[in-house]
């Protein structure tokens, strides 16, 4: 009887020790896991200077799909891609490039995507013009030479999606009063984020930069509608009736764009009609 009791105590002592050991282990490893989790979670955001190769999954999924093999790096004929090193602020071992160093040349056969053994670079991307590696942003209007009134146009001319991803939109040069500024405007529907514009921009620090899309792209609220688009779709104004525009001017004056207040109203332009001023300005 007592013998049996003793074996049970020994057994329960052993079981106790086992449980304590296991708990200790679980806590230690758990702690490590929490640390690793935080670290990995932090690395989910791409730093602004780094761009992913064409077809890369959204940042939240890329580090899950990419097994860090570097096949994309190897098969890029222009050798633009790197695998992130442990000290770099993104998921270790995942591929990226830096536009200002070496931009993507937008290979037609997209060898980087073809080489990827996982879904990290999406194989359904077959048209390089549909790539969305990032989005160009004209970040500094104070240094862009075109904004300063010159005809640099370099970003416009090097862009592989010529005259679509960047257009030059004429504007009055307010400084001289009688010259035109050709403002580079980026269109997100077409910009692939290849980075050639950033690479080529001649200012000491690029005035146009390519950022990961999540940083560069705004988004209207779901319920927003553009009146003029809707009007075109419907074929007529949706806010009926479409009121003709009038300025609420002093007696005998009218306003002309670029000239300011003018004497002698043109035919049919009545000043000071009955429409409230605030409402009129809404129509602008």
């Amino acid at each position: 009887m007592s013998d049996k009791a003793q074996t049970t105590t020994v057994a329960s002592g052993k079981r106790r020790q086992f449980l304590v050991d296991s708990a200790r282990l679980a806590c230690g490893v758990g702690l490590l896991g929490v640390g690793m989790g935080f670290y990995a979670e932090h690395a989910k955001a791409l730093p602004p200077a780094a761009l992913r190769p064409p077809g890369a999954l959204p940042e939240s999924e890329l580090a899950a799909a990419c097994i860090r093999c570097g096949l994309c790096v190897r098969d890029c004929p222009f050798d633009i891609l790197h695998l992130a090193r442990p000290e770099e602020p993104m998921a270790t071992g995942t591929p990226y490039f830096v536009a200002r160093q070496r931009p993507c040349e937008m290979c037609e056969d997209i060898p980087c995507v073809v080489a990827c053994p996982t879904g990290a670079l999406d194989h359904s991307l077959t048209d390089i013009n549909k790539a969305q590696m990032g989005l160009a942003v004209l970040v500094d209007q104070e240094t862009c030479l075109n904004y300063l009134g010159m005809r640099c146009d370099i970003c416009y001319r090097v862009c592989p999606v010529l005259d679509k991803a960047i257009t030059l939109d004429p504007q009055t040069n307010q400084r001289t009063g009688h010259h035109t500024l050709f403002i580079p405007v980026v269109h997100s529907d077409y910009c692939t984020g290849c980075g050639k514009c950033e690479k080529a921009c001649p200012t000491e620090v690029a005035s146009i930069k390519v950022f990961p899309r999540y940083m560069a792209k705004g988004q209207l609220s779901e319920h927003y509608r553009l009146g003029w688009v809707e009007k075109e779709k419907a074929g007529h104004s949706l806010v009926a009736p479409d009121i003709e525009h009038h300025f609420n001017m002093p007696e005998g004056m009218h306003y002309e764009l670029g000239k300011g207040l003018q004497q002698a109203p043109p035919a049919g332009g009545e000043a000071g009609d009955a429409v409230p001023r605030a409402f009129q300005e809404d129509q602008l």
Binding site: V29, M36, I67
Partner: protein
Amino acid sequence: MSRSLLRPGAEAVQGKGWLAAHKWLLLRRFSQLGILALFLVGPWFGWWIVKGNLAYSYTLSTLPLTDPYVLLQSLLAGQWPEKLAWIGVAIVLLFYLAVGGRSFCAWVCPLNMVTDAAAWLRSRLGIKGGPHVSRSVRYWILGMTFVVGALIGTIAWEMLNPVSMLHRGLIFGMGLAWLVVLSIFLFDLFVMRHGWCGHFCPVGAFYSLLGKGALLRVRLPQRDACNDCMDCFAVCPEQQVIRTALKAVGGAGPVILEANCTNCGRCIDVCSKEVFRFGLGATAAAPVCSGSGVAP
């Protein structure tokens, strides 16, 4: 005796000559360095025999090889790879199921050379002691890498994995990865004997899971000749795997069946009594060994 433990294998060197007493060690280094060289001649000389790294490689644009551990983590994080990765993982799984998963550790893993160096230096310097940690910690860490990876939906372990960091670093640029490698070296040297590979590394732990039914085994046809010099224990990175087979514990047959045997063959090298040899077959009764080592 203590002298023999400081220089395990001295007797074998005397008996068989230096070369024969280092045969498997040399072959292993040849394999590890050779595999590394295959990966390196591409970036160094432009001879593209193998592209990629141990996570996934593509040899001569025909043979894909995928690391099953990293692929499994990717699957758990909710991703589905392309066909070549699947073919690659099937080949690798079949291979390691046959030769024993932890053969990866002894014959392929580049970090093994670092930890081996630390273990060698530690024994030369006579450094002893250190914390006692269960060898099963690695399985807990292995499980943790799966759980954390699945929870946050990413391959979290790849943020820290020193094995891939070293291998990728050598081929694609090291960065500060050498600091991690150095830490492991110093840890193994000063803090814990076979600390990293023997206790913590989840990569080794994963591969050991593939070793349960392996065909390639260290067998002990001459175990009766053992003179208890303990040299095999002194050199084995997983010394707990030897005893059962050597001492016929519980009537065990003369073959090391433990999944954590790395098939490094160092025990074969250092035994002056020729107790060990490599053989095929997952059971003790396999008819490979000649003569004396019949199971009781």
